[in-house]
């Protein structure tokens, strides 16, 4: 049977993708951002998952105000990196895993999570920046990807609690898939940031680090954070953090944090990064620094 072998949470700031695409990662501004991803890239290479489920949000790219799915699962064979208004990122086409994706869709819908099924989807920086951080700059991504797009642009997004529950339903779905696939789950977005209006530039280190602590050891308390608390404390775009709770729910109740990184800023945003393994399982990979 398939199983979840690791959780990988990271901010998905578009400027991080630009810095990688333009070879700026050693510049003084960027070096402290990327230094925090070196150990986890080794971890990911050793983990070598068969499939990655990437929980992300679309930023007015594939979805507009015409159709706003709260949760949309990609069941396509492949996904083209999108032109978001400044040209598409020079990254590989994202190959999908339709068989597992359809299995998950069926399982969670019958578990009463009313997902939207998507068979044609361009993916924006929300999905491709985390892949670049996790896998570097290969000619082809090392594993197929199942995108799970969460609406966090149109208020209200799903609650943190709903996201955590969906993650648990995804875990159940994966564990009922007959092929012995090893699956990594990505939660992306955040951490504190506000991109709009007079309060743009807001950062809240205390909130972010408390969120990281709770995500590891007390996800149910993290899941109870209200929308208004996110908006007020983490900035209007910090509410993306609900997506990390889907990843967390897909892991066991007890987890081990094998890597943690926090840095301010990348552009307008606090960068947070967390790598989790199930505590009960034998270490998925040898311990990283």
């Amino acid at each position: 049977m398939a199983r979840i072998v690791g959780g990988y949470a990271t901010s998905h700031v578009p400027a991080i993708g630009v810095a990688m695409d333009k070879g700026l990662t050693d510049e003084p501004y960027w070096q402290p951002v990327f230094a925090g991803y070196e150990a986890s890239r080794k971890w990911m290479a050793e983990l070598n998952p068969d499939v990655a489920i990437v929980v992300y949000n679309d930023h007015a790219t594939a979805f507009s105000l015409e159709i706003i799915p709260t949760f949309a699962l990609g069941c396509a064979a492949s996904y083209q990196p999108a032109d978001e208004g400044w040209g598409a990122r020079p990254v590989p086409v994202v190959e999908g895993h339709p068989d597992l994706a359809w299995h998950i869709a069926q399982s969670v819908i019958l578990d009463e999570f009313d997902l939207t099924i998507v068979n044609s989807l361009e993916v924006d920086h929300g999905l491709t920046v985390p892949l670049s951080l996790a896998f570097g700059q290969p000619d082809a991504w090392p594993c197929p990807v199942i995108p799970l797009a969460v609406n966090v642009v149109q208020f209200p997004p799903p609650t943190g609690h709903r996201c955590l529950m969906l993650g648990r339903a995804i875990r159940k779905a994966v564990e009922s898939y007959e092929q012995p696939l090893r699956v990594a789950v990505f939660g992306t977005g955040g951490m504190s940031h506000q991109l709009q209006a007079e309060r743009a530039g807001l950062i809240n280190r205390e909130f972010d680090n408390r969120f990281l602590d709770l995500l590891i050891d007390d996800p149910d308390t993290a899941a109870a954070i209200s929308h208004t608390e996110y908006l007020r404390e983490a900035g209007s775009e910090g509410i993306e953090l609900v997506m990390w709770l889907v990843m967390r729910g897909a892991l066991d109740d007890q987890v081990t944090a094998v890597h943690r990184h926090y840095h301010v800023p990348a552009s307008n945003t606090a960068v947070g990064h967390l790598v989790l393994e199930n505590a009960a399982a034998a270490p998925a990979v040898a311990e990283v620094a």
């Binding site: 930023h59 032109d83 991109l195 709009q196 743009a200 530039g201 950062i203 280190r205 007020r232 552009s267």
Partner: protein, 129 residues
């Protein structure tokens, strides 16, 4: 629905009311994702805007690049940033414009840890400040 987020200062929450107000404004911005549309818009902005039934205030805000005005009139930042991108403005410089700060001052604020949460939680705090 009642909302308890209206006292957050300097922030437009893109809720149902804003979304209904800004539908055509945002769909105009969305169209700029495609290079051909960017070219058509840049060739004749007013004519291009005729394709979208916006209010006169929204048109004026777009043509005048009143970034906060667009948000107030129902724009969402992920949409209006596509207009900024078409103008060659980076996201960070757009943020600086919306705060009324010089771009270098804004960048320096971010490098120094960003805008602190203390004093920025509620409109009451901004009045006192």
């Amino acid at each position: 629905m009642s909302a308890d987020y209206h006292d957050i200062p300097g922030t437009y929450v893109f809720d149902a009311q804003q979304s209904r107000l800004g539908y055509h404004l945002n769909m105009f911005c969305m169209s700029l994702r495609h290079a051909a549309n960017r070219a058509a818009f840049q060739a004749d902005e007013a004519k291009y805007l005729d394709r979208y039934p916006m209010t006169p205030e929204q048109r004026t805000a777009v043509l005048g690049r009143d970034w906060n005005g667009m948000l107030r009139l129902g724009g969402n930042i992920y949409y209006t940033s596509k207009l900024a991108a078409a103008d060659g403005i980076t996201f960070q410089d757009l943020a600086a414009k919306m705060t009324g700060m010089d771009r270098d001052d804004y960048r320096a604020m971010m490098v120094a840890g960003g805008r602190p949460i203390e004093g920025n939680r509620s409109k009451a705090e901004w009045k006192d400040g």
